[in-house]
Amino acid sequence: MAEITQTLPAVTAVQTWGDLSVRIRRSAEYIVIPGLAIAVSGVIFSIFLLALGKSPLDFFDLVERGGFGTAFSIENTLVTSSPLILTALCVALPARIGLVIIGGEGALVLGGFASAAIAIPLVAGQEPVVLTLSVMAATAVVVGGFWIGIVGYLRHARGVNETISSLLMTYIGIAIMNFFVEGALRDLTNPNKPSTKPIGDAYMVGDIPGTEVHWGLVVGVVLAIVLYILLSRTTFGFAVRVSGGNPRAALAQGLPVGKLIVICCAIAGACAGLAGFFEVAAIQGRANASLAAGYGYTGILISFLARHNPVAIIPVAILFGGIVASGSLIERRMGLPDATVLVLQGLTFVVLLISETLYGRFKIFQGTKSTERT
């Protein structure tokens, strides 16, 4: 007991220079180590390219040009980043309460499909644009939230492993979309690719003025900031973090862990559903198999790189948005398959997880007051 009373003042006395320095050092660890992981996977990937007789310099040059070089490519990157931010949020929020959810792809597909489906009667009835888009967005949010909410509920109530069940739900979601898109809701005037009826140009979500980037990016960034504040500055966020850190302690404190899990999963699914809405209402104009473009899977990597911090997700999503967006340029210019980006992503993910073992190993990040961390 004596020990506790002695150490307490040191913990609570904030704003002294020493504490600030410790805080900075610790946060630096969370930036330096993932940064290192990205650099190392870049090196390994270069060796991989060299082994195939391709030039890594060409590759990174093309990523730079295709993703970030010109105003056009930056806009293209931002358009790609917008669903990535939202699907990464779908991983980050459950991760903070201790759940590994990898089913963002399913919530995106189903949310996008549901918004396209509900738009059909509204567009046919020539309802106002704002009303139509609001109903579409709300549908996507509800469907996406419900979809991942089920996963959270099953985890809490039945002990079903959320990682496996969320990915199963993705396959089910894609099958549901295919069932309708190739059946009852198929647009028969479009013989090429089974799709729902297009919502029409008049009903499309517009671009941010002065750019060719749709409003989904703004929504994603705002949501990331809001969720960050929710997690770090509210009682709800505190309860979530406690439940994620130690569910038994949280239960003993009387926190409604089950409810919190379902709410977190529902918000997460709603984010992914919104991503689907913007893919339909701002890019594709209709729902079809292209909705399942893998944004959900890239979002998993982004969230892990950002250490499930919603604000950190924004820059990481833009980085990977650039890499994904330059994929087709790389494919054309270097004669590499379109899966090149997948290899780079998988490699980065593996290296990143290896780098987890480095936390707490470097003295420079520790500061004087720190003791053993796990």
Binding site: R158, G159, Y171, A175, I176, F179, F349, L353
Partner: protein
């Protein structure tokens, strides 16, 4: 639906179970071994896809499908070894590594598999269990691939090894209590590394079955979650190799519902029946996750059921 149609559907289901179940069986057996040693490898979906690609490519290049099967197993064991090695590092979570290996394996398979989407590789042969009936619909339905037999033999060997051999005891001990294994002088990391590697080999062989027998071609949508379902199946089979085989056959039958109904002209809801195995898996997981027997049989060190 008349009697004849029912008859056809029944044999299509049985035949489908025999055909479709083999990859489930191999992946489930591999995962069963890995989980018995106390680790979870969710990456077997990626292993399955990489195995399918490698098997197809080697069969195409060498002209020998069986060489393809071996190569597929080797590619799977490389992924398994990576998983096994990474997980022994401190503070690394095996579930997350599994997800990473899933994405990595799929990415590598799609990358190197692109040139093999078009050409057709030599396929594995098969024999029929139904020729004695003289009915060639039945004979066609009861085609059996030798790999199915291999899978059943592997399951029997595993069941025997777990129950009656020193090696089996070491694996079970490592899975139930790492502390006791260490006290007995067993290297926990080494046992888990080897189990994950062998598990990867089996999953890779399962992948070769997909590309070299049924459906029998290489494309990017080949697996679509079969590896993942097989991992879920192991919980349902309560870590028993024999029950893994039974569960795999059940899954094969579920996967064959769509094509079987289509063969008698029922095409409505084809996509719904495609979703049947996933929905079945989900319900099986809901039913088995907290059952009393599962709680009793689960290896103590496993993180997946906590």
């Amino acid at each position: 639906m008349n009697e004849h149609a029912l008859f056809i559907v029944f044999f299509a289901l049985v035949g489908g179970a025999l055909r479709v179940s083999t990859p489930f069986m191999f992946v489930a057996l591999g995962e069963c071994l890995t989980e018995k040693s106390g680790r979870v490898n969710l990456g077997l979906e990626g292993t399955l896809v990489l195995g399918a690609m490698t098997g197809y490519a080697v069969s195409y290049q060498s002209g020998s499908p069986w060489l393809g099967v071996v190569a597929a197993g080797c590619s799977g064991s490389v992924l398994g070894a990576m998983h096994g090695y990474i997980c022994k590092l401190p503070r690394v979570n095996d579930i997350a590594v599994g997800i990473a290996m899933m994405l990595f394996g799929t990415g590598v398979a799609f990358f190197f598999g692109k040139p093999y989407i078009q050409p057709s590789a030599p396929q594995l042969g098969s024999f029929s269990l139904g020729t004695w009936t003289g009915n060639h619909e039945i004979a066609a339905a009861l085609q059996i691939n030798p790999l199915l037999i291999v899978g059943i033999i592997v399951a029997l060997i595993m069941a025997w090894a777990f129950a009656d051999t020193k090696w089996g005891l070491i694996v079970r001990m490592t899975g139930d209590s790492a502390a006791s294994a260490r006290a007995m002088g067993v290297s926990v990391d080494l046992v888990r590394f080897l189990c994950t590697t062998i598990g990867g080999f089996l999953a890779g062989v399962g992948g070769a079955f997909l590309s070299l027998y049924y459906p029998g071609a290489w494309n990017q949508g080949l697996s679509s979650g079969q590896g993942l379902m097989a991992v879920a199946l192991v919980i349902f089979a309560r870590w028993s190799p024999i029950r893994c085989v039974v569960a795999a056959l059940l899954f094969g039958a579920a996967g064959a519902i769509g094509p079987a109904l289509q063969s008698v002209g029922i095409t409505q809801g084809y996509y719904f029946f495609n979703a049947a195995p996933y929905i079945l898996t989900l319900f099986i997981m809901i039913g088995s996750a907290r059952s009393k027997q599962a709680v009793r049989d689960v290896p103590g060190e496993l993180s997946i059921t906590k």
